[in-house]
C-alpha cells in the first residue's frame, strides 16, 4: 500500500452529519477504495487526490464522532487512527477537522481536542453557503486566531468548493509542518471538568468570531413540527416504509424485464454459437441463466438503497430513530437499532455492521441477533418468483396490488418475528440488565445531493455485482456440476437430472423436509441457497431448466406453478421468512459477536422458527384445501 510518491496521509474527522462524506466525495470523486478495517467491520474509505500544487495525497474518511473519548466501535477506530494506535494503519500526518458551518458549537470543542493531539489540524467549515444563506456570520480570521488553527470554508457540493481546503493542505505540506511518519499522538481521556472547560472555551470562541441568528433553521422547525408530531410522525414513518416497499415492486419492473431479456438474448447467442453438449449446457444453463437470475434483482436492491440513502442524506433517519425509540424499547431494542434494522432490509450484513454505532454490548447483540429476520433484498428474488407464480396479479381495495400486499405481509412477518425475538431475549437472557441511554443529534434537514446518492448507489451496485460475479458464480458452477454429473445412462427413461448428484442429495434430505411440503428439487436448491439466499432461485432455475432442457426458454415461474401445490409454495415462503439461509451473515455474526456460541444460537433459533412456520403454513394450507 505504501507509495513513495505520496507525500501526505490526511484523515477527515468530524461530528456525525457534518457533511464529511460529501466533502470526501468532492475531494476524491469516484476513485474511492471501500473496504473494512482488519479485524473489525468498520467501513474504511480511502482515496487518492491531487492538490492544486500537484501533490498526490491519500485521504481517509473516518467515522463521525463528537469526541476522541470513543463510546462505540466505529468511534474507537476514529480515535485509534487519529492517535496512530491502530495496528496496521499509519498515523495520519494531517487532520482535517470537518465542521458543519451552521452548527459549530460541538465541532469547535472537537477541534480543540484534536489540536491537543499534536498533529497539524485544518478546520474546514463545510456547508459554508448554507450558513451564509441562513445569516450566520463567521469571521474566519478571528476564528483562526482564537483557535490557533488554520480555518478554511468549503462547499462540498459546488465545483471549486474545496479549492481553499486543497490550497491550505498544500501550504501545510510546503511549510514542512508535517510530523515524522509514525509519530504517535498524545491524548488523555478528559474528565467531566475538562470537557466542561473545553466546551466553555469553544462557546467563548464561538461568541467572539461567529454571529448566529437567534432562531435555528426555520424550514427544519416547520418540517419537524409535522414529522416529529407524536401521532402524525408515526403515521408518516409507516407510510414512508409502505411506499418504499410498493416502489421496490412497481418501479423495478421495467429495468428487470430489460435485464432479463438481455440475459435471454445472451443465452440464445451462446446456444447458436456453441455446439450442443456439456459446454453449451454449462454456459447457457449454468453460467448465463444462473447469474442472470440473480443480477435481475439489481434494480430492486438499488431502489431500496436509494430510499435508505435519500432518507439518511435528508436527515430523516435520526428522526425515525427518535420516533421508534420507545416502541423499539418495548421490544427490548435501542432506538439506534432502527437504522441497522432498516439497512437489514437491504442486506443483513451492512445492517449488522451498522450496529457498531450502538455503544452498549447487550443492545448491540440483541440487534445483531434479530437483524437477519428483517427481509433482506436477497429474499426478494425468492419471494417475487413464488408470488408471481402463485398469487394472481389483481388489484384489491381499489389501489393495492394483491402481490404487493402479500409481499408486505412477508415483510411484516419478519418484523414481528424480530420484535418478538428481541422481547423474548430481553426477558430470558438479559433480565437484570438495564437499557442504555439514547442520545442522538437531530441534524437540520438538507437537500440530498444527486452526486452523493449516485456514488453511494454505485458502491452498493459494485458490492452486489462483485458478489454475483464471485460467490454466486462459483455456486452456480457447483450446482450445475451437481445437476449434470453423472450423465444419465444411454437407456435413461427419466429426465437427466434424476440421475445426478443433486438428486441424490435432494432425496437424502427429503424425509426431513417432506413434512413441510418440500420436494427434492427444493431441497437441492436450498443447499447452494446457503451461500446466498437468492442463489436458490438460480438453482431452481438450473434444476428445472436442466430437467426441461428440451422445452427451450420456458419461464421458471410457469414451470413452478405447474409442479408445486399452493401449499408447498406458501410453505417455502414461510420458510424463507425465517431460515438462516446465508453463510455470509453467519460469518459476520460470528466475527461481530466474537463467538461461535452466538452464531450457533442464531442459526439454531432461526432454523427452528423456519421449520415451525413452514410446517404450520403447509398443514393449514392443506387443511384449507390448497394441496
Amino acid at each position: 500500500m505504501t507509495d513513495v510518491a505520496l507525500t501526505a496521509r490526511i484523515a477527515l474527522v468530524g461530528n456525525p452529519n457534518c457533511g464529511k462524506t460529501a466533502l470526501f466525495n468532492a475531494l476524491t470523486g469516484s476513485r474511492q477504495k471501500v473496504a473494512n478495517y482488519p479485524g473489525v467491520t468498520v467501513e474504511r474509505k480511502e482515496a487518492v487526490a491531487t492538490t492544486p500544487a500537484g501533490v498526490a495525497v491519500r485521504l481517509l474518511d473516518l467515522p463521525g464522532t463528537y469526541s476522541l473519548r470513543a463510546r462505540s466501535l466505529d468511534e474507537v477506530v476514529t480515535r485509534d487512527i487519529v492517535l496512530g494506535r491502530f495496528a496496521g494503519e499509519d498515523a495520519p500526518e494531517l487532520l482535517v477537522c470537518v465542521a458543519d458551518a451552521t452548527n459549530l458549537r460541538l465541532a469547535l470543542r472537537l477541534a480543540l481536542e484534536l489540536k491537543r493531539v499534536g498533529r497539524p489540524v485544518i478546520l474546514a467549515l463545510n456547508m459554508f453557503d448554507i450558513a451564509r444563506h441562513r445569516g450566520v456570520e463567521i469571521d474566519l480570521a478571528r476564528l483562526s486566531t482564537e483557535l490557533g488553527l488554520p480555518v478554511v470554508s468549503s462547499v462540498a457540493v459546488r465545483r471549486g468548493g474545496t479549492r481553499e481546503l486543497l490550497d491550505r493542505i498544500d501550504a501545510v505540506i510546503r511549510g514542512g509542518e508535517l510530523p515524522e511518519a509514525g509519530a504517535a499522538g498524545s491524548w488523555a481521556e478528559p474528565s467531566a471538568a475538562e470537557l466542561r472547560a473545553a466546551q466553555r472555551e469553544a462557546d467563548r470562541i464561538l461568541r467572539s468570531a461567529v454571529r448566529i441568528p437567534e432562531r435555528g433553521d426555520p424550514l427544519t422547525q416547520r418540517i419537524d413540527r409535522i414529522v416529529l408530531h407524536p401521532v402524525l410522525g408515526l403515521a408518516i414513518l409507516l407510510t414512508l416504509l409502505f411506499l418504499m416497499f410498493q416502489a421496490v415492486f412497481t418501479w423495478a419492473q421495467v429495468p428487470m424485464d430489460l435485464i432479463k431479456s438481455g440475459f435471454d438474448w445472451l443465452g440464445r447467442l451462446v446456444g447458436a454459437a456453441v455446439p450442443a453438449g456439456a459446454l453449451r449446457s454449462f454456459l447457457a444453463d449454468g453460467v448465463i441463466s444462473g447469474v442472470g437470475s440473480v443480477v435481475v434483482f439489481l434494480p430492486q436492491i438499488l431502489i431500496l438503497f436509494l430510499f435508505i440513502l435519500l432518507l439518511e442524506d435528508f436527515g430523516y433517519m435520526a428522526r425515525a430513530a427518535f420516533l421508534m425509540d420507545r416502541i423499539m424499547g418495548g421490544a427490548g431494542l435501542h432506538g439506534r437499532a432502527f437504522i441497522p434494522l432498516l439497512s437489514s432490509f437491504a442486506c443483513a450484513i451492512p445492517g449488522i455492521m451498522a450496529t457498531r454505532v450502538i455503544d452498549s454490548r447487550r443492545d448491540r447483540l440483541a440487534t445483531i441477533l434479530v437483524a437477519p429476520l428483517m427481509t433482506c433484498s436477497a429474499r426478494i428474488p425468492v419471494y417475487t418468483l413464488i408470488i408471481s407464480a402463485f398469487v394472481p396479479a389483481r388489484t384489491v381495495w381499489a389501489i393495492f396490488s394483491l402481490q404487493g400486499l402479500v409481499m408486505f405481509g412477508l415483510y411484516a412477518a419478519g418484523i414481528a418475528a424480530a420484535l418478538g425475538m428481541s422481547w423474548a431475549m430481553r426477558r430470558l437472557l438479559w433480565r437484570r440488565e438495564p437499557s442504555n441511554p439514547f442520545m442522538l443529534e437531530l441534524p437540520d434537514y438538507k437537500r440530498p445531493v444527486a452526486r452523493n446518492l449516485a456514488l453511494g448507489l454505485l458502491q452498493r451496485a459494485k458490492i452486489f455485482l462483485r458478489r454475483a460475479g464471485t460467490t454466486i458464480f462459483a455456486m452456480m458452477v457447483v450446482i450445475w456440476f451437481l445437476c449434470s454429473v453423472p450423465t444419465p445412462p444411454p437407456d435413461a427413461t427419466e429426465p437427466a437430472i434424476e440421475y445426478s448428484l443433486a438428486a441424490r442429495i435432494g432425496h437424502a434430505l427429503e424425509p426431513a423436509l417432506a413434512p413441510i411440503g418440500f420436494n427434492w428439487q427444493i431441497d437441492v436448491a436450498l443447499i447452494p441457497g446457503m451461500a446466498a439466499r437468492e442463489v436458490a432461485v438460480a438453482s431452481l432455475g438450473t434444476v428445472y431448466a436442466v430437467e426441461n432442457a428440451d422445452e427451450d426458454g420456458d419461464q421458471l415461474g410457469h414451470v413452478l406453478a405447474g409442479q408445486w401445490s399452493l401449499a408447498t409454495a406458501l410453505s417455502l415462503l414461510a420458510w424463507y421468512v425465517f431460515a438462516p439461509q446465508c453463510a455470509s451473515t453467519l460469518s459476520v455474526v460470528k466475527r461481530e459477536t466474537g463467538s461461535w456460541r452466538w452464531m450457533l444460537f442464531l442459526f439454531g433459533y432461526m432454523l427452528a422458527l423456519a421449520y415451525a412456520a413452514a410446517f404450520a403454513t403447509y398443514h393449514i394450507a392443506l387443511w384449507l384445501g390448497a394441496g
Binding site: 463528537y66 451552521t102 425509540d325 438495564p434 441534524p443
Partner: protein, 145 residues
Amino acid sequence: MPDANVATAAPELQSQTSRNSFLPLCWEASGMRSGAKFAIVGSALKPARGAVTLGAAPVGFTGHICAVRPVASGSGLPPQEIERRLIELGFVEGARIEILHEGLFGRDPIAVRVDGATIALRRREAAAIVVEPESETTPAALAAE
C-alpha cells in the same frame, strides 16, 4: 409495557422536583466553575426561581441549564459517564434550552434545542440536567407539569 420505565422513574423525578423547591440549584456564573462539585450546595448562594430537571419539564419549556450532575439514571452506565456524554452533546451550564418535541408513549424521548443544535434523549437521562426557566415562562406552565 411502554410505560414501565416512566413508572419507575417518576418517583425519583418527583422527589427531585420537590427538593428543588427549597434548595438553591442555580447560582451566579462565577460560582458555576465548580460545576462538578454540585452536590455541595452552599446556603449563601442565590436561590433560583422554579428550577426543575430537564427530564420533568414539559414541551415548550425554555430556559438555561444551571447544572449537569452525575445522577444514577437506571441505565447500565455509571452516572459520571452519562454526565460526560451529556457535556459532549453540548449540555453545559449556561446553555439555552428549549424542549421542542416529545414521543407518543410516556412523552418520551424528548427533542431539545441546546444552543444551536437539536438533541434527542430520554427523560431518564435528562433528569441529570437542572434547568431554570426563562423569565417569560410563566409558573403556570410549570404548575401544569
